[in-house]
Symmetry: D2
Subunit: 348 residues, 4 copies
């Protein structure tokens, strides 16, 4: 019985969150756990919260260790997944939490990542509306290779896509400023990510359109509106472990009313389990998504400047990475899409 899943990169933050979610998943059994430099050590040294797996010893990340599972999650440094995936059977469901297969455009890949484009996989953001009226989830049912979105693109795309899908927004002059918790930077030891450096402080990074999530946001919004979109994206680092708050703004097309905006956003997510447009007057807080696979969204029109402001909150490790990965795996495996995924954040 059960589907077996291997997790590569089990000692990192994305790997840990995958395991936390899989431990609560009624249809998936946890198989091999692998790591790079941490191979040979026990999981408890890296993920002391994962009590049921404390004594599991990490194997090295090789295709041999990962083979023989129905499902393989790759939470590896960028650039490492294509080679591993090529060695896995074609009918294994491979879910890549890294960036390698997110971008369709080889040119955008080369501009922002450099090196050769590894090709694109089915994009794991099921709720994303497309201009043709379908959702991205259609591409995920039965897929065998899936690219999990970046955390910023998940937050930003869900926030603004309803407006593009409904044809209400101008495709240029989109501005996204997003704040992320520190876990988005991963578990590597760096001086600038020490607690002493980040607590009590906010700072930007990757300013000026150079952050690699920029073309991914543009790809998603372009898909939603069926036209090219240009985005000014600025990420900032916030003094919290988890959470992304994306403040996204775009110019309204002439004559669009606040009522049309509200209706478009509500209609887009009316039937979604994990993406919620909040009642008017309430704004999302990242804390309400902690540990949950949810995205909380609110939208307002600033009539003085003719702009829509859409704000979304997610947990970067949950809906922004591991939750999106498991949700996509459910679709690929013909399991109920919401199976095993938490809907309620841990607050306060």
């Amino acid at each position: 019985m059960g589907i077996s899943a291997a997790v590569a990169g089990a000692s990192g933050y994305a790997g840990g969150e995958l395991l936390r979610l899989l431990l609560a998943h009624p249809g998936i059994e946890i198989g091999a756990l692998t790591a790079g430099g941490n191979a040979g050590t026990r999981l408890a040294e890296h993920q002391p919260h994962l009590l049921p797996l404390a004594d599991r010893v990490l194997a090295p990340t090789t295709a041999d260790e990962l083979a023989g599972h129905d499902l393989v999650f790759l939470a590896l440094p960028h650039g490492a997944s294509a080679a591993i995936a090529a060695q896995l059977p074609a009918d294994t469901v491979v879910i890549d939490c890294g960036a390698d297969h997110r971008l369709v455009s080889a040119q955008a890949w080369e501009e922002f990542y450099g090196g050769e484009h590894a090709g694109s996989w089915a994009y794991g953001l099921p709720e994303l509306p497309r201009a043709d009226g379908a959702r991205q989830r259609e591409n995920l049912r039965g897929a065998r290779r899936i690219a999990v979105p970046g955390c910023y693109p998940t937050a930003s795309s869900l926030a603004l896509a309803p407006g593009f899908a409904a044809g209400l927004l101008e495709p240029d002059d989109v501005v996204v400023v997003a704040a992320s918790g520190t876990s988005g930077a991963g578990r590597a030891a760096k001086v600038n990510m020490l607690g002493s450096e980040v607590m009590g402080s906010m700072s930007p990074y990757g300013v000026g359109g150079v952050h690699r999530h920029t073309p991914e946001i543009e790809q998603n919004l372009g898909l939603a509106g069926n036209q090219p979109v240009r985005v000014s994206f600025t990420p900032t680092l916030a003094p919290m472990s988890r959470g992304i708050l994306a403040t996204c703004t775009a110019r309204l097309k002439p004559g669009v009313t606040a009522g049309e905006v509200r209706e478009a956003w509500q209609n887009t997510y009316r039937d979604e389990t994990f993406v919620h447009v909040l009642p008017e007057g309430r704004w999302p807080r990242t804390a309400d998504t902690l540990g949950a696979n949810t995205a909380l969204i609110q939208v307002a029109v600033d009539e003085r400047v003719g702009r829509v402001i859409a704000v979304s909150a997610i947990d970067n490790l949950a809906k922004g990475t591991a939750g999106g990965a498991v949700q996509s795996a459910n679709l690929a495996l013909d399991l109920p899409e919401v199976l095993g995924l938490p809907l309620v954040g841990v607050a306060p």
Copy 2:
């Protein structure tokens, strides 16, 4: 089908955590939600993370609203539960998250709380060892009135009880210094609990043996060792929302070895699902218990001073309040004790 549960005090932190756990509990259905001053408002205004209950309107906290359920959780200000409970049928399982029925000694009640003692109920700390070799859970099976322990007593008692149960510790000169997250102070608006006041700061309060959890810790350790125990208890406030770290120290009886200490602690919790003695050399972090019903414990002997130092970490709202409440309810209702309770914290 299913057991129906009402929650009184649903707009507070304990009430919110109860609801978060009950939403994930496969054997309990959520019935009436009541509040005091917040009666008449929607739950979403107070608990925006509880998406599935967002539109529930809070009823006033009266026996009428709470009656007709199999299970009633009371998360009320101290002093309010006895009167409500008296109006509920004797076969309703009433779980009081407040202090009213925790202390057996009327004298201790009067000294620390003042006013008349409302009598004691079965004490909801299932794993607590007793000198007779049994556990506290024996008193909870089938109980109809249960007092949930205070959060500090849960952390402190679990940390030191093994040593008293095994007769290894002197009953005087016990010192407990514990740090708590701010949610322990509840949801009332107070200047000294503002984010600006607590972030970046540690401070003590209730110093000098005046904190009301002191006699409760003494009661538990006395029960474990079958002799009176005196505790110097100092609580401190830490800049985090959740979590208690209790550093507990007691003098060793002459001749007790570190090996005996280790064995006593390990034996006490070997078969427990939620209470873990960590492998030697690893110390508990509160973050690893976030949202989980777990207590992580480590113990060391300081031979220079002849003391044992036992440290425990819990989530004050989960194992320290709502988790302990649900675990006790499971026992009272003859459900599996661990049913619906999370074992894995949300980290990092």
Copy 3:
């Protein structure tokens, strides 16, 4: 000897920061301290860090108590300062930390604040460039009534004004998204500002152009560029006590180069003590301004979208309120502008 200063609103955050700075000011003596509801209590109850003033008893905030000083700082709720100021001698230097006299436009006042416009005072942002080549400090020398800018306008205006003063930016499609520490919300006890609510969370508020600092930012940028400017401003709340990080973006005029942008920003602040344009590649962190009267600024051009992104970091209570107030007082009193003001933040 020395100039005597009274502080009205001494028990709040702005009042406390004024006193912290004045205690270190070699040319000003602290006189009367007044409060509203806290009148009659000792300062130590509210500002335990101000050790040298611990035993000072707060007087009620009346013109009588404030009269007889050379300098009066008003850190009062909005709407209270005009009446008090009217009762003080015309040659007393009155520095209002509230909003009442910041806006020149009565229409903007009525739209955003409502009620009658109290008139505008000299605007206390000395470094703000104006289209005529002068700085705002010219208006402050010898002034007797000064309005201290809002904290967001200080951060945002300093960030973008160089581009408007140099004629490089389009006046529409300006977008500002700013994150503030919680002290910006003041010291009133509110549930949504409790530590438990704000720690580990980011959230927006005042979305859609309704925040009262919006017209003030527009006023400043309009003054810098001598043309009306429209701003989309979204404030967010960050889990830290102090600090504002303002991410400000505007469209470049056709043909403007990155070199021209860099030069404009550097030239604007080359001779300023407190406002620093960082070397290329380094981005401001709010922690580096903690307790200091500094603004740290960086700017980049995103050529893909034709926008400039300027980011500034300040301490909302220091440069954003009390530091700006003292700097303005120095100018009004013909003291050296930088006297007594800290240039070095407390980091890490």
Copy 4:
């Protein structure tokens, strides 16, 4: 004119705080800045808050670079200072912020640090009372080699010394549990000190009497009471950058009253500028010491258990390291002891 000071280890946290204080010191000029692995880089890369020194290039830490100054501060890894100091002229004032010369007992050194004892220097805790009625500051006037205390010993010794000096406390069964901000762990990149790991979490470390500050606390309290003292010391890590809160408890000698305790503590620090015993009922918060050279202390008697509980709050980098260093330097150089040292913390 003025005294010239070199700082070795200028890129670390202690070095940065020394420079922050020295920049505000009217009698000391900053000379050479040196570093180990960071030699050759600009200070701004490591200490962006130290604007006036931004462009200073760090020299390698050698005796040659440090020679020729009146005053040399060593903020080096443990074990490095003795060799450097031996190469500096005997009349240079050398202030060691490391541990090498704190302990008088070679045996204690070998037990806790290992290796050869480098000998002890004058101990830089001026306010520490001694059993003979003098203060430690007597040893510092005119000293040429000074060992700055550890941050935990500063907090703990100041908290309990009054009771030992007055003969009120039993010398065994002293228990100290202290919480420290993360800057106490220094600026080295370690996974367990990442912001993601420490935010929202409390954890102990060095449990069981193994922390190297243990013998130093015992030395200080022994000096105060003129008899050996044994201490159980447990340090914990708190989610804040700066601050130590030390909760210190000891058994009272028979018959000692609360009044005698209060009097002893108040008398000890009555004339001290930086060490304050708070009024009854108020407890210290670390935030009130942020950036200041102060120690805030409160004491209570728990009559039920016959113990005194003394709590102190300091800034570990200020009074706990760099502030104590500068205060000691002032004494060594016959400057006013308080010169240039901040008395007011940056709160909130």
